[in-house]
């Protein structure tokens, strides 16, 4: 591990990283725009210049040289000595900031990026107080460059992060710099908008307010948002995300750095795929069949009802005709509780891995980012739970086959998919089940045959862990309260399984881990320092 001296302090850093990264990881806020650890280095913003010791050509002794070096372009070398906290470096920042502000409006009051804008930060900390340019600023156009993205060109600092992202990470190259010099602009080719499957990342990448998300535009000031650590449920890769929310609900989703899964990026599915939470037709109260119609029932009445009906179905054969469908949308803890509940009542009950939605094929991007075809977050987790419980098990298709033959007397079906998932085959098959409890987010074709309908909570309203397609167990926190009238799945299943009080996933996880260590081995991505990207 190389050790370098930054401003007189020895810093141990990772091999082969730039000095800038080492300084950022050591907690220094070094101004930079063009540098991003996930992209190639262009060293064009000239903000991160530093002083460095070099060998004197005559004496070979290490001395401070008058020239400044870009710290993003200089790799760390054991024993090197650099300094940022000097008058010359501060002067450089001040003057480069003056250049940036010649044409950049300081329109923070109306800019979406205010509060997380590097230009605002650097201007405040080291920029000039007034502009000495008396001429009029360029008024560059605002551009609609894609279905989700706007470009406010007048705010652009031409750091080319977005251009490099589309070239290197997405591999689609929609964005380019056009024109030369101070007339340079970011733009798309005519008829080829920014519409790749990762394009939302350019908004996060933009260090200023030039690239904006149409969906978030003018919705919230970022300092009013709270951030919840979460894991995206849109595919089996388990991309780690921040859910930015407040009392009004979720406002946006951003990537959360994860060196093992998605690095700094997320797919557009993960970024924009959360709006199903606010669909108007969400189920919001439990109901039971009263004659032909479903009638509301109190949450308190449900456990007894479910217990008695399942016990009834399990009487005599230990529950061979009872089944529980564990949806891959459930967290590991929830799946565990449900399996425990069913097996307690019916030791011979069949545990079924729920419907696994698959769309298309896995997509792999140039630098390794993947979007999986499997559109559920926790198949591996459910399989792990099933493996622990043993006993009779089946796939969802086999379960439907048994149901259509009338071999299922009682079934507890969990779902929670954002998309419609019930097909005619499932409807026909499950119509034959005398006691059918459906735990789902939305109404479906099963409404007509469900004996009990239990409203589910979305992943943002719950907490727990998902195991991704590579077997990595990742925890997600609750971001927002559940829809009014809905009890989080974990809480309900906790109560069903005989728990008392409040469901806390980490407590359940601790007891689960005693039996299955793999389900307690949560991976926590390395947190990045505030300014390290």
């Amino acid at each position: 591990m190389p050790k370098i001296i930054i401003d007189g302090q020895e810093v141990a850093c990772r091999e082969n990283i730039p000095v800038l990264q080492a300084a950022l990881e050591a907690g220094q806020d070094i101004p930079h725009y063009c540098y991003h650890p996930g992209l190639s280095i262009v060293a064009s913003c000239r903000l991160c210049l530093m002083e460095m010791k070099m060998p004197d050509p005559r004496t070979k002794e290490l001395v401070w040289v008058p020239k400044l070096f870009p710290s993003c372009q200089t790799p760390v070398k054991d024993g090197m000595e650099v300094r940022f906290n000097t008058e010359r470096v501060r002067d450089n920042v001040k003057h480069v900031m003056e250049y940036y502000l010649l044409n950049h409006p300081l329109d923070c009051p109306v800019c979406d990026k205010a509060g997380e804008c590097y230009l605002q930060d650097y201007t405040e900390s080291g920029g000039p107080a007034t502009s000495r340019m008396v001429e009029e600023k360029y008024k560059n156009p605002k551009k609609d460059i894609g279905p989700h993205t706007l470009l406010y060109q007048d705010r652009c600092v031409l750091c080319s992060r977005c251009v490099r992202f589309t070239d290197e990470i997405a591999g689609t190259g929609e964005l380019k710099v056009i024109n030369r010099g101070s007339r340079g602009e970011i733009d798309v080719f005519p008829g080829a908008p920014l519409a790749n499957a990762l394009q939302g990342n350019v908004v996060d990448l933009c260090p200023v307010g030039a690239l904006l998300d149409k969906g978030f535009l003018f919705k919230q000031r970022v300092w009013l948002l709270k951030h919840a650590k979460s894991v995206s449920p849109v595919d089996s890769r388990g991309q780690t995300i921040w859910i930015d929310h407040n009392a009004e609900g979720i406002h946006r989703i951003r990537p959360r750095f994860n060196e093992r899964v998605n690095e700094w990026w997320i797919s557009d599915e993960a970024r924009f795929g959360w709006k199903f939470i606010y669909r108007a037709d969400r189920l919001s109260q439990p109901r039971t069949r009263n004659g032909t119609a479903l009638a509301p029932v109190a949450w308190e009445a449900l456990p007894d009802l479910l217990r008695s009906r399942i016990e009834q179905a399990a009487a005599g054969d230990g529950g061979a005709r009872v089944a529980a469908v564990l949806s891959p949308m459930l967290s590991c803890e929830e799946a565990w509780l449900l399996a425990q509940f069913i097996r307690d009542l019916a030791p011979q009950a069949t545990l079924v891995l729920g419907h696994v939605p698959v769309t298309g094929q896995d997509r792999c991007f140039p630098k390794g980012f993947k979007i999986m075809a499997e559109k559920c977050p926790n198949r591996r987790g459910i399989e792990t739970v099933l493996a622990h419980f043993g006993g009779p098990q089946s796939t969802f298709a086999e379960f439907l086959g048994r149901a259509v033959e009338g071999q299922v007397a009682a079934a507890y079906v969990t779902a929670g998919y954002p998309e419609a998932w019930v097909d005619d085959r499932a409807v026909t098959a499950l119509r034959k089940v005398p006691f059918l409890a459906v735990h789902d987010l939305f109404p479906s074709g099963l409404d007509a045959s469900a004996t009990v309908q239990i409203p589910a909570a979305s992943w943002a309203e719950r907490e727990g862990t998902f195991m991704n397609c590579d077997g990595l167990l990742q925890a997600f926190d609750r971001a927002i309260p559940p829809l009014e009238g809905v009890k989080p799945d974990g809480q309900f299943l906790f109560e069903l399984a005989g728990g008392e009080g409040l469901f806390r996933s980490h407590k359940v996880r601790a007891s689960v881990a005693a039996a299955v260590p793999a389900l307690g081995d949560v991976f926590e991505p390395r947190p990045l320092p505030e300014h390290a990207h």
């Binding site: 064009s44 000495r132 007339r183």
Partner: protein, 484 residues
Amino acid sequence: MAFEPVLMRHYRVPNSTSLQVYQQAGGYTGAAKALQMTADELVELVKKANLRGRGGAGFPAGVKWTFLPKDRKVTYLCINADESEPPTFCNRITIETDPHMLLEGILIAGYATRTTVAYIYMRGEFTEQFHILQKALDEAYAAGYFGQNILGSGYNLECYIHRGAGAYVCGEETGLIESLEGKRGWPRIKPPFPAVEGAFRQPTVVNNVETLACLPHILTRGVDWWLSIGTENSKGPKMYCVSGPVNRPGCYEAPLGVSVRELIYGQDFGQGMRGGRKVKAVFPGGLSMGVIRGDIFPRHPEAGQVELARDYDELDCRLDFDDVRRYDLLGLGTAALVVVNEDTDMRDVLRNVARFYSHESCGQCTQCREGTAWMQRIAERIRAGAGRVLDLDLIEEITRNMGMMPGMSICGLPDGAAWPLRTLVQKFRREFEAHIAAQAPDAAAKYIQRINPAAYDLPILQGRAVAPTGGTFYHPEKYAGAAH
């Protein structure tokens, strides 16, 4: 011994572009000689001759070749025929009148560097020159000077002409390489230097046309002949372009070290100023190297009237790699003189220079992108009769900030932009101040408020700023302690 031109010996010789004429003058004997040597011997020879690159920086060509990694498998040679520096046209003359001299130089340099493929990167606007060079290249291929097993030596070299789309920065070696690879002509960050990782990520040498054109003569006439020409550290002949209101503008060959005065007034060269006007200023190295003051200024000023340190005729500046620095020039550059006569308003010169660099800045580095454009706006305003004395300070400060010293940005363009503007403002400050003094008292304020109504509350000063205007980056005395 009288100087005998070699680089321009075929200028005005009929049919000089043909292989036949070139061979009659002893063409390709240098290459034949080179091919009998080893590559290392050839490099040593060029190092011994101290052939300094004619492209602008004056870096020794032989030394540049030694930077190539020893264990390389592929080497590319890029020939810089972009020639976009404003008053420079000597490469064009070489290509137009003696293309085989260049091709022979390519063959020699290619052999010395063990190059397999040479690319002539040619400025897009050179249409006729492209056809001339392509014809010559076809002839050379047919005669066995390119291709496989050249002259039975077992050495193979392919050569292609690549035409650029026309951008100043594509003449910068890494910008050239990017453009050659089919990308936008943006300079690359260094390291890695092209010698290690250049065109197509392989070791690459970039040499200028004139540098390579010197090689056949070093081989045929010998190092001693070469070393007998020029000044102490600047050896050999050089092509000088003279443009502006002189009686005989054009391209002339002379030994390195010829003076500016000689090039303007010499009978073999410019033959004096048109209409007997006086020289006001000269850009002796292309625009980017800076300006010197002409003979309009008293050579022996009365004490107390003018600033002794600066107000003197600088036409004695000798055009070699060293003497130019005494006159606050960045370097010899392309040795292309732009002469400005006494009738010219220096505000026009300032504006034209600023406009050129603002237009040609690639836009990667912030200081260059914004600084050149800012200076252009200031220069436009001064030209429009709305200058402030403050602006002169401001231009000086911007030129310092753009590159506190050469090499602070990805390429040398900001240095090349800053240097002429700074020297213009410093050396002709008195004239700018006189123009400003002759303006209406509120001309600047009115102009600024017209072009930028939002500027009403800014301090629009006509005169020199009484207080510092925001701090200056460049304080030689402030940073003196840090230098080694």
